[in-house]
């Protein structure tokens, strides 16, 4: 009796949790990036925090707390069997779609703004699009893994999967949250392509990108057109709309080879607006120079490489696609963020993973990394057994 109970307990346990060793390299790289991210957040934010919050430690205290909480959650998540997560994919996707739709219908929840990208209760707030991205990745991984044979068809491989991405993409874009929409769009294309879509169909998203750029240039979306204009010539409105971009460039350009030294940024003295958010990498450049900035980029590249390895070695197609989707999300965010900071592309408003301030975002990110770690555990289990 007791043995049976024990056995059934064990099987329930193994169904929900995985043993196996997680990918320590990936985990270490993650910890290094989170730590460096926290140090840089403290450096970038303490002047702003002192002036606006009367407390230099305002941002670092919160972010530090969320980082620890997120790492704990990550480790817990890494133990969860991804198959359980897969079972939730459809439901989670539909819930997110419904949630985003309600957000659109309801009045804006964040005070003092008319955009609906924030979900807020009291002092707690987060962007549902963060979860929206995850929902799309999860759903696509599930569908691609389940319908491998249909991948080459237009109906499923392009249209079906495309709609999965497009629904969330449009809902998020309507908030409006253009940057998140762009991310979801790019992630969807990447996952479809890796999932086995015929490469010829890439012409469709390529066409969509061209059309999208055309729409932006035409000025139908007012705020997007503005951003485009001062991307091309930020000095023309240096004191106005181009201010943030200019301040970012001044900060980056001041870095030189070795930077001014950790903590020595001058631009963080209220010149760069909200230096702890999307433009934190500008402060990194100013303080650590091109050497430091490139080292951090290389750290990201190593993490991405290690993540892709986990995806390539994953025990099944679902976990492989899931890991790929999550890692690709991080890599595309890093790339776009730094491209914005250096004014290589127009300002979109994408934060830098593990660096930019944002507790919920960091926790979600770490939990997602926990899933990737879980997949690495699973592949290690299958190999040893």
């Amino acid at each position: 009796m007791s043995e049976r109970l024990n056995k059934s307990k064990k099987s329930v346990f193994s169904e929900f949790f995985i043993k196996g060793k997680m990918d320590l390299t990936f985990f270490t790289l993650l910890l290094i990036l989170v730590t460096v991210g926290l140090i840089m957040l403290f450096s970038a934010s303490y002047v702003y925090a002192d002036v606006h919050k009367n407390n230099s430690y305002h941002f670092i205290m919160r972010q530090g707390f969320f980082a620890i909480f997120g790492i704990v959650l990550m480790l817990v998540t890494s133990r969860i069997n991804y198959k359980i997560i897969r079972k939730c994919a459809v439901l989670f996707y539909l819930c997110m779609a419904a949630f985003l739709l309600i957000m659109l219908i309801m009045p804006p929840m964040m005070k003092g703004t008319d955009v609906k990208r924030w979900f807020a209760i009291g002092s707690f707030s987060f962007q549902p699009s963060e979860l929206g991205k995850f929902a799309v990745i999860l759903m696509l991984a599930h569908l691609i893994a389940a319908n491998q044979k249909l991948m080459k068809t237009f109906k499923f491989g392009v249209l079906g999967l495309g709609i999965v991405g497009a629904v969330i993409c449009i809902l998020v874009g309507a908030e409006p949250h253009l940057s998140a929409a762009i991310l979801i769009f790019l992630i969807t294309i990447a996952m479809m392509t890796v999932g086995g879509m015929r490469l010829i169909y890439l012409l469709i998203p390529a066409g969509a990108i061209v059309a999208g750029i055309g729409v932006l240039v035409s000025g139908v979306i007012g705020y997007a057109k503005d951003r485009l204009d001062f991307w091309l010539d930020p000095w023309a409105s240096a004191s106005d709309k181009g201010y943030q971009t200019i301040q970012s460039l001044l900060s980056v350009g001041s870095g030189g080879w070795l930077g001014r030294g950790l903590g020595q940024s001058r631009q963080k003295y209220l010149w760069v607006p909200e230096p702890h958010n999307d433009f934190i990498f500008a402060i990194v450049c100013e303080e650590l120079g091109i050497i430091g900035a490139m080292l951090i980029i290389i750290l990201f590249c190593l993490l991405i490489w290690r993540g892709f390895l986990i995806a390539m070695k994953a025990p099944d197609k679902f976990s492989s696609m899931l890991a790929f989707g999550l890692i690709f999300q991080i890599s595309i965010q890093v790339a776009l963020n730094i491209l914005v900071v250096t004014n290589t592309i127009p300002n979109t408003g994408i934060s830098l993973p593990f660096f930019s301030y944002g507790g919920t975002s960091l926790v979600i990110l770490l939990v997602e990394m926990g899933i990737v770690l879980g997949i690495s555990r699973a592949s290690n289990t299958t190999k040893t057994v």
């Binding site: 392509t193 890796v194 350009g253 030189g256 010149w271 490139m294």
Partner: protein, 747 residues
């Protein structure tokens, strides 16, 4: 079926990885290299432009000293009070912000004596820096600091005090025409302050510091400070004491003689060209140079609008104008010294020559009268100079001829600026050789129809008496740096020798005769050998212009000691409207008064004749507290008399006190009892009395008389002024100074 990802999936993932790597390293890395390495200088410079502020630290302006190291001009530390209106945005809440502003406006307006609303308006401006008040002195600045420290609102972040300096002239009006003054940015506007601006100003320093976007200092350690180099200081040849004596008597003469076009006195070392004093009446206080005198302010207040503005500016320009350097005048008879010098030098006359004056001379059909219509009759050269006889000097001019006259005129420096180190020196207007006819030569010979500046005139006279050398007049002797090291020394500069030393010696003899027994008698100072020449010139062009009559310039030029000249003194009184206008009557006494005070000060020992000795005052011995018998003896020994009041045996009080001087034979009152009533008497009127009559009257009234002014032995000498008004009730024995002058003048 493969359990893991398919080969194609892995392949495409690898492709994605390479694509991302290309973006990360290639695109982003390349972009960062472009921004951070290639364009680094550009961005660093741009960033510095907005982050760094470059503040000038004003250099301390150099000081100005007199020849004895006494301060004439210095700079005091003051503060500029400013506010930073933009930083109010850091206060959360409209109510609290307004309360803070109101608190600041209330306190600043009270401490700085400003209008509340004005201060509040400044606080509401959309600027990061707003000056509230400049030149705030230390006590007021301390009050502001106290307020900042004690305010319940944290006002320290909105109010600032910047150090700067303010020019300060410790002696107020003293030598203001020479010193000049500075403008609101401490830049020299007039006088030495302007002339020596480059020496005084120094090199401003800089502070480079980093500011955040709100204009506050960044707490970083890259502040760069380049210290300011203080300006150099000037050591002038002026002597504060001599300057004050000159000003005292000039100012008094301007009042006494109702002078309307101001007056000037220059005291110059005849050998070195150093200016010991340069006084201009009706000058200003450089501490508040823009303020008008009460009389001028009254004139201005009576006007309105543009007229008022124009008048203010006109009167300011007048009070700032250094009459001794920037105004020209017809020197009149003082110039005859120059004519005499050239005639002697050219052999046209000599000391023993005899002349005859009929009261006029006709030159080229034009009749020139002597000021003495009936003529001086037969006279020697000395007499002619003493009498200031016009026909004789016209004769000299005609004998020399225009060419020689012009040559000497210019050689004496009268055709050019002296080059004195003061701004705004005027050019003379005179007949050049090409335009000089016989009549122009005739009038020029006695100092009319041409105009020179007072500084030119005294420089020419100096050359005539110092052995013949035309020296460069100057005010600054030395420029020293902040540590007292000499930067520049002004040595005596002789431009040329104009006449021989023999001629110069003869001139000295002639000039001494003028003071001893000629038109300059009123400048006589007992115990000293003084030479001089008086002048009274008609302001012909001004009279024609204004239609007024009787406009004169009365002047006197004295030299002492005349046997070995050290100083020359030129007194000019422009347009007297009192009871006399002759230089010998009104300017010469000023010269005498000044010389009487400055010659002993300069350490030149007086040498009295026996007659003079009898008239020299003796110091009253101190006998208070002594036995009566002892007191009697002490006073008698001094040649004084005494009167005892009371029957005590000890002197409890004496009058005059031991600080006074009395002429021999005067009475000292000795009181021997406490209750003895102090004897009173009334001061009589001495005006118009001769020396002996005045003496008599003083004795009758129990007044002790002290003689002042001209050689009291001369004929026609009468009293014209007394130190205590007649009718005043005074203690018996009070010393009253009575000023005498001769009314006989020779012009």
């Amino acid at each position: 079926m493969v359990k893991g990802p398919s080969k194609s999936m892995v392949k495409r993932m690898l492709f994605a990885w390479f694509l991302l790597l290309a973006i990360m390293i290639g695109v982003i890395g390349g972009r960062l290299f472009y921004l951070m390495v290639i364009k680094s200088d550009f961005y660093q410079q741009k960033a510095a432009q907005q982050q760094l502020y470059d503040n000038e630290i004003s250099a301390e302006r150099g000081k100005i000293y007199d020849r004895n190291g006494e301060l004439l001009a210095t700079s005091a530390q003051v503060w500029t009070v400013f506010v930073t209106p933009n930083s109010f945005s850091s206060i959360k809440g409209e109510e609290k912000r307004n309360a803070t502003k109101a608190d600041i406006a209330t306190n600043l307006s009270a401490i700085l004596e400003l209008d509340y609303q004005t201060v509040l308006d400044n606080l509401n401006k959309k600027v990061s820096y707003q000056r509230i008040k400049r030149n705030v002195e230390k006590p007021v600045a301390d009050k502001i600091r106290k307020y900042i420290a004690s305010s319940e609102y944290k006002v320290g972040q909105f109010i600032g005090l910047e150090e700067s300096s303010k020019r300060y002239y410790p002696n107020n009006t003293l030598a203001s025409s020479v010193l000049g003054f500075v403008g609101s940015d401490n830049q020299g506007l007039y006088g030495l302050e302007k002339k020596y601006e480059n020496d005084l100003v120094g090199v401003p320093g800089r502070v480079v510091a980093a500011k955040d976007a709100k204009g506050n200092d960044m707490p970083l350690s890259y502040e760069l400070e380049i210290e300011a180099t203080p300006g150099n200081s000037l050591v002038t040849s002026l002597d504060t004491y001599i300057q004050s004596v000159c000003e005292k008597y000039l100012d008094q003469a301007v009042i006494d003689n109702k002078i309307t076009e101001r007056g000037a006195v220059i005291c110059m070392n005849v050998n070195s060209g150093e200016i010991l004093a340069m006084a201009v009446a009706g000058d200003f206080d450089p501490n508040s140079a823009f303020d008008l005198s009460p009389e001028n302010q009254a004139i201005v207040d009576a006007l309105e609008g543009d007229e008022k503005t124009a008048m203010i500016s006109q009167l300011r320009n007048v009070q700032w104008r250094n009459k001794a350097v920037s105004d020209t005048y017809e020197p009149g008879s003082v110039f005859k010294i120059v004519t005499a010098a050239m005639a002697l030098e050219e052999g046209a006359t000599s000391i023993g020559n005899h002349y005859n004056c009929n009261g006029y001379i006709v030159v080229a059909g034009r009749r020139y009268n002597c000021h003495k219509r009936e003529g001086h009759g037969a006279e020697t050269l000395t007499n002619a100079v003493q009498n200031s006889c016009n026909p004789v000097f016209i004769t000299f001019g005609q004998q020399l001829g225009a060419a020689t006259f012009s040559k000497y005129f210019e050689a004496f420096g009268l055709g050019e600026k002296t080059g004195i180190d003061l701004p705004g020196e005027a050019l003379p207007t005179y007949h050049k050789l090409s335009s000089m006819g016989i009549t122009e030569l005739a009038s020029s010979s006695f100092g009319q129809t041409f105009k020179v500046t007072p500084i030119q005139m005294i420089t020419a006279i100096s050359a005539a008496v110092n052995g013949g050398y035309l020296v460069q007049p100057h005010i600054v002797n030395e420029v020293i740096d902040n540590d007292g090291n000499t930067v520049k020394t002004v040595a005596t500069s002789v431009k040329r020798q104009v006449i021989s030393s023999t001629t110069s010696e003869t001139i000295r003899v002639l000039m001494e005769a003028v003071v001893d027994g000629g038109g300059g008698k009123n400048a006589y100072v007992s115990g000293y050998r003084i030479g001089g020449k008086t002048g009274t010139s008609q302001k012909v062009s001004e009279m024609i212009e204004s239609g007024e009559s009787g406009l004169y310039v009365a002047s006197f030029c004295g030299v002492a000691p005349i046997n070995d000249p050290e100083i020359a003194l030129l007194v000019i009184l422009d347009e007297p409207h009192g009871d006399a206008y002759y230089g010998g009557t009104i300017a010469a006494p000023v010269g005498g008064q000044i010389l009487a005070e400055i010659l002993p000060y300069m350490g030149i020992e007086p040498q009295y004749s026996d007659e003079e000795l009898s008239k020299i005052g003796v110091r009253v011995p101190s006998v208070t507290g002594q036995k009566v018998e002892f007191a009697k003896k002490a006073i008698t020994e001094k040649g004084l008399k005494y009167e005892i009041v009371g029957d005590g045996d000890t002197v409890l009080k004496q009058f005059p006190a031991s600080t006074g001087t009395l002429s021999s034979g005067s009475v000292v009152m000795l009181y021997t009892t406490d209750d003895a009533a102090v004897k009173k008497t009334t001061v009589p009127n001495f005006f118009g009395l001769s020396v002996s009559d005045a003496n008599e009257l003083a004795k009758d009234n129990d007044i002790n008389i002290q003689f002042a002014g001209t050689s009291v032995s001369g004929s026609g000498v009468t009293a014209y002024k007394q130190s205590v008004e007649s009718g005043t009730e005074v203690d018996v024995g009070t010393i009253v100074t009575v000023y005498f002058r001769t009314t006989e003048t020779a012009e």
